[in-house]
Symmetry: C2
Subunit: 340 residues, 2 copies
DNA sequence: TTTTAAAATGAAATCGATTTCATTTAAATT
DNA sequence: AATTTAAATGAAATCGATTTCATTTTAAAA
């Protein structure tokens, strides 16, 4: 293992003090351009790389941003991450990513690790079964910017980036009602997370606004992924009378559900009209094409990261507003919900 | 911003030296159990967290692993990352992830950033247009473990984790031949990457082994994603005579291609039989279900990370074997290729 | 009880960049 | 040319944990 070059080595080579070398390398205005050039050249020729530990030890900033997501291998989450990475790398920040795997316990461990790694800021999309947010307190207490996105706590004590889930579910449901559906069910995640709570609200309001009956039984709680589609389809098939419309909170899940329903001889949308959520690639590829809520993952990632960087650059200790940024989402109507 | 607690604060509180505190916290055998307990308790009550910079500055290890992928938001890549994260977090390592966006230039920048961030090891899946691997030299020169996965350089100077792309393409092509196809084309990534080169080999060998003609024109080079499917379909439609079989190196691309071909009145598999690559969720959901190569992303991630950690724990400076680990892949036959 | 060996603890140097404060050098002013 | 002012550089302290080497304490052996 070759020895690392330090600023002292550079200082020796160019006959200056380490102080000046340090300043030259960080492009300080109090160093002559000529000197800077000399130093930079020597640095390059020696193969110098800055020791970030020594630097961080003094500066107390890592240029690392932590991100905790439920799952890395989810089409929505990975889009968000892609957006975040894009902005972060432009600003010379690194991304430290970990996944909670929907486990509240692992989320706590992740948070602790992030804290101990001294990330400059933290972005979190919560695990489904996470009840409280105590494990994030160390961040807020130390003044480390913390922003939630998509899966946000019920009572946001920190800024959040979300879509208007109430409105989105309202739009999806209203659309089905417009298509003549009168027995709609709502497949939704089971948890205390605001995301799903609000979708349930939107579903309910859409019915109530038309003086149509709403009962809690219309919500079917389930894990939402490709695997659960069949299981959900079986539950649907046992409902009597058979529903004529479904709002399913996840496209991958909706797609596999549709596939199974079709196998069982159900016609989509004639027998059951369906709207999904996310506008995943799959929604454009299954038959019939899936109506869905377009949910801007990549943009959400970009916005969350920009917002975090903004807070980092505000070098004061201001408490910071706990605003909630709500992104637009839109209903995309395709064949799966068009009865007429 | 509250002041950080250091081992000196703990030392003061319990009336011991920082030395002993340091040793107690790292569970050194030369500290009495009683003393350890006292120190740990004080640490907890003071809200101590170790300053990793100070520690890293001395120990010269960060417990950070860098990963460079072409795209975060790809179903395959995010599975790989999920597998990596899983193993890394168990071993108390952090993942620093960045994406090259298929740009060789950005890959170089990423590599430099990783190098300057002093990652303990690096895992890389190369961008399509990356010709050489000079930008990874600093790692090998400094003895920092570097492992390539999936998209590996042509002449692996570092260990690689791949699947046998030659064999996989051979299997896909042979299957189509078994189905009676005699005019097969191969949709493949355009680049000098070994992945695609080997698939082309496999395609060719399958034909040659049956004494069937092979020409370079049978390979169609393209970007492989959902968006390019339509474009590719158009190219296919203009081939005269129309191919009766396609091997498409990516499921998402194959799916959108199938959709477009169907729109144009082509029957799958009767007119054209198709085999994809990756076993993405989409392959199980489109109609007809897509035959594909099952390509173990999650496992690949786990194996790559385990291998890297192994190299890190071998605390000697041994050159390390440049072995290539080849994972099994398998052809999954579904409707899209079954002519009989 | 004394001697010897082992276990436990501490003092101080170290890792390498940054920063405060002091000093030297150069440029501007009279 | 002498003085003032600004620009450029340097010495040394600092960040906090680790580690080497020395010292003290405790336990085991004589």
């Amino acid at each position: 293992m070759a020895k690392e070059i330090t600023i002292y080595d550079i200082a020796d080579k160019v006959g200056l003090s380490p102080t000046t070398v340090s300043r030259a390398l960080s492009d300080s205005p109090s160093v002559r351009p000529k000197t800077k050039e000399k130093v930079n050249q020597a640095a390059k020729s020696l193969g110098y790389r800055s020791n970030i530990f020594a630097a961080s030890l003094r500066k107390k900033s890592t240029h690392n941003i932590g991100v905790i997501v439920p799952r890395l291998n989810s089409s929505f989450q990975s889009s968000v991450l892609a957006g975040m990475e894009n902005i972060a790398s432009q600003a010379q920040y690194n991304l430290i990513i970990s996944q909670s795997l929907e486990s509240s316990k692992k989320e706590q461990t992740n948070a602790l690790t992030m804290y101990n790694s001294h990330v400059d800021g933290l972005l979190v999309s919560m695990a489904e079964n996470t009840g409280n947010t105590d494990h994030f307190k160390p961040f807020t207490e130390k003044g480390i910017p913390l922003i939630f996105f998509d899966r946000t706590p019920d009572e946001p004590s920190s800024p959040s980036i979300i879509i208007d889930n109430t409105q989105a579910a309202y739009a999806a449901t209203s659309h089905l009602l417009d298509q003549g559906c009168r027995n709609i069910h709502h497949i939704v995640g089971n948890s205390g997370i605001s995301t799903y709570k609000n979708r349930i609200k939107g579903f309910k309001y859409a019915l109530m606004d038309r003086q149509l009956p709403y009962t809690e039984e219309q919500n079917i709680y389930s894990v939402l992924n490709e695997e659960s589609g069949e299981e959900i389809a079986n539950i649907i098939l046992q409902i009597d009378p058979l529903p004529d419309g479904l709002v399913i909170s996840n496209d991958a899940c909706a797609a596999s559900c549709i596939q199974y329903l079709k196998k069982k001889g159900i016609r989509i949308p004639q027998d059951i009209a369906i709207v999904g959520f996310n506008n995943d690639a799959i929604s454009r590829l299954i038959e019939p094409n899936l109506s869905t809520i377009n949910y801007p993952g990549y943009e959400m990632g970009e916005i969350a990261m920009r917002n975090l960087l903004l807070r980092l650059s505000e070098n004061d200790d201001s408490p910071g507003t706990n605003e909630t940024i709500t992104l637009k989402s839109e209903l995309i109507v395709r064949e799966s919900s068009l009865k007429k």
